[in-house]
Amino acid sequence: MGRYIVKRLLQTIPLMLVISIFVFMFIHLLPGDPARTLAGVEATPEEVEAIREEFGLNDPLIVQYIDYMKDLFRGDMGRSLKSNIPVTELILSRFKFTIQLVFAGLIWAPVVGIFIGVICAIKRGTWIDLGGMLFAITGLSAPGFWLGLMGIQIFSVNLGWLPSGGLDSWKSLILPSIVMGTGIMATLARYSRSSMLETLREDYVRTARAKGQKESIVMFRHAFKNSLIQVVTILGLQIGGLLSGSVITETIFSIPGMGRLLVDSIAYRDYPTIQGLLMIFALQYVLINLIVDVLYGVINPKIRYD
């Protein structure tokens, strides 16, 4: 297993290199000039030129890329064109907020989602199943911005219980947590139900029942644990999505997270920041996939790593 992890980690290096080239090309192909945007509309062509020169934007693209990669290997992601803050510092300060949001969403959503899914599967066809799935579909269909704005209107403006934004106290995490978690909860409820139903049809479940085992053991030791494989895959993807920041939640609740940083940086064509963020997002996905693969083995030791 240790060797497997090391091997996987080594594989990420060429992968990240390829990603870095794609990302670099992609953001430099976007129409728009950061120097012009930064200088403002009243700037003369000479000022724009001076800024271009300062940021090395006049060099050939390949030179810019090589310079960027050289710095990157030294751990330097460059400086934001917009704010002049080192990109590493900028991303770290934003990561702090995003990670809080992710935890706020994850603290309840998977547990509730899987619970609903499993109960619905066990009680398949009853009103409990119907109610549970109705709840899940509602959660899936409710747009995040709508949930957020309704939450602010009801709990902040009308009732005055919760702050409408910012991240000053644990209270201010409650509304964002609901917005972040609802989608995950609903998705997991649907997946864990279908996964559980599939597992319940397996031969080994029938065998377990035939052996005369208690229904609760059949359900949880045999069926539930095996149904988790699919659920973990989905959960991994969802967390990856959350870690790249949720622009909507961050915008509605005025939280300076990574999603908003990305959108703002794109608006300014802040190349180093966009590049840094996209590389980090890619790395996050790679690592989460690795964790998910390792978890497969924990859930089902028959899955082998070679």
């Binding site: 000022e47 724009v48 915008t251």
Partner: protein, 549 residues
Amino acid sequence: MKKLVSLLLAGAMMLSFAACSSNKQSEGSQESANTPSTSTENKTENKTENKTETSTAKSADNDLVVALQADATHLDPHRSSNGISNQITNEMYETLLTFDENTNVVPLLAKEWSVSEDGLSYTFILNEGIKFHDGEDFNAASVRAVYERGLADDSLTLKRTISAWEDVIVESDYVVTIKLKEPNNTFINKITQFRIVSPKAMAMEDASDYLAKHSAGTGPFILSERVDGGYTKMVRNENYWQEGPSVDSLTFQVVPEDAARLAMLQTGEADVITPVPVTDVSLIENDPSIVIDVAPATTYRYVTLNTQWALPDGRKPFSDVRVRQACNYAFDSEAYAKVVFNGYAKAPTSIFSDSILYYSEQTPYTKDLDKAKELMKEAGYEDGFTVEIIVDNTTIEQKGATFVQQQLADINIDVVLLPNESTANAEKTSAPLEDTTVQMWYVNWSSGSYEADGSMRNILHGDKFPPNGYNTAFWNNEEFNQLLDDALKMVDSKEIAEAYAKAQAIAWEECPWIFLGNDNTINAYKSYVTGLQYKPGGVMVFRTVGLEH
């Protein structure tokens, strides 16, 4: 291979657009929920909306929170270039002179000033006993130090303020003279952008880095902490040299979502919000604890008509002044103010806002379809033509361009909207004449120093075809150019006023644009906020702000 790459990129772009569009949707749904009110008059006067009942609410603390739509780009006042950056840094850094809300230039760090007869030397007598936040003394040498910083670094926006200066001479400790290369009537207005920073801070090797985290001005507030994209908090300057604020701290918080900004004001989490979207005013209008201030903005909205653009058959419709005038006669600017800005806008009466110095009133083009059709017929375009309009892809900009589209349909001009991100549009619109794809551009302009030259030169002067400026009408009128160039060097304000009045009359008659109007700036604050001051265009100044608590 190339195809594969572009396919991949297109896929990635679709994904990113999907992410963006769900964000935009929230604005859209806001819009439709608040259909334009049925107000019959335009709310253009500079006024505070009256409340029938007054609130006795008190603030819970002595910390003022202002919710803004976006964040400053940089806190180095010589580096930042946009309005929001200036709004924030202006609380920490001061200038020799400043504006009052009626666009008069008034003393600040300089207590008086005089100009030589040839208009080349301006002498300032400075206030004494003022200290920078870092303890350094403010004097004539510190004024020169700022000039020197501008000379040394081309990438600073400070550069454009001093580009017309010949020298800065320290006459004595508190007397400084600025010499110009040639007379320039905009000098006094532009000096209000010349922010004085402590020489000690500017002398540091990484001055910009230092200034991003510390303030080194003479202003009423001192920077205490900042989270980029989050908030900028300042505390009261206890050693401020004149009557200052009574609040303990001032925090500018970034709240991009319109509805959230409104909610924060309602809950009292924010004491002041700016701007209030025109569509949301009705939601807080009846709240007795909230005061709404409506001020005419200096932002002027227009559509450029590319006079050089040719139809596929080679004809150039906008090169004919009759077609350009017809567009203006077909356009109902009163209705535009009501439909697009809920009445919080004003029909245009010249080529820039009436709060700008040397504004001269023109006869409005009131909607007259018969006349418009007549002009189109005379020009040989009775059957109209198809034309593309570039517009930013925000809700309100697209709404405005759609309105233009509907109005021009009346004279058979078929307008096709090309909405795009503003950064992408900036690239398109700065292409030179031989490469330009601009046919029409829905855009707005405001002069940061509230002067006539700044309101016209960059967008109408014949020397300012892109990329030198944003004259995307590619309109080149010798007489107009000459008037602007002459006026710039004049000293006598009566002569200046005459020259600018003539220039405005020419552009108004020649119609290089469709004149749309001026929108208002709407600010709202809790009734317990005291001592708010304004600059022109509804820009708030917090120098003497307080909270009843």
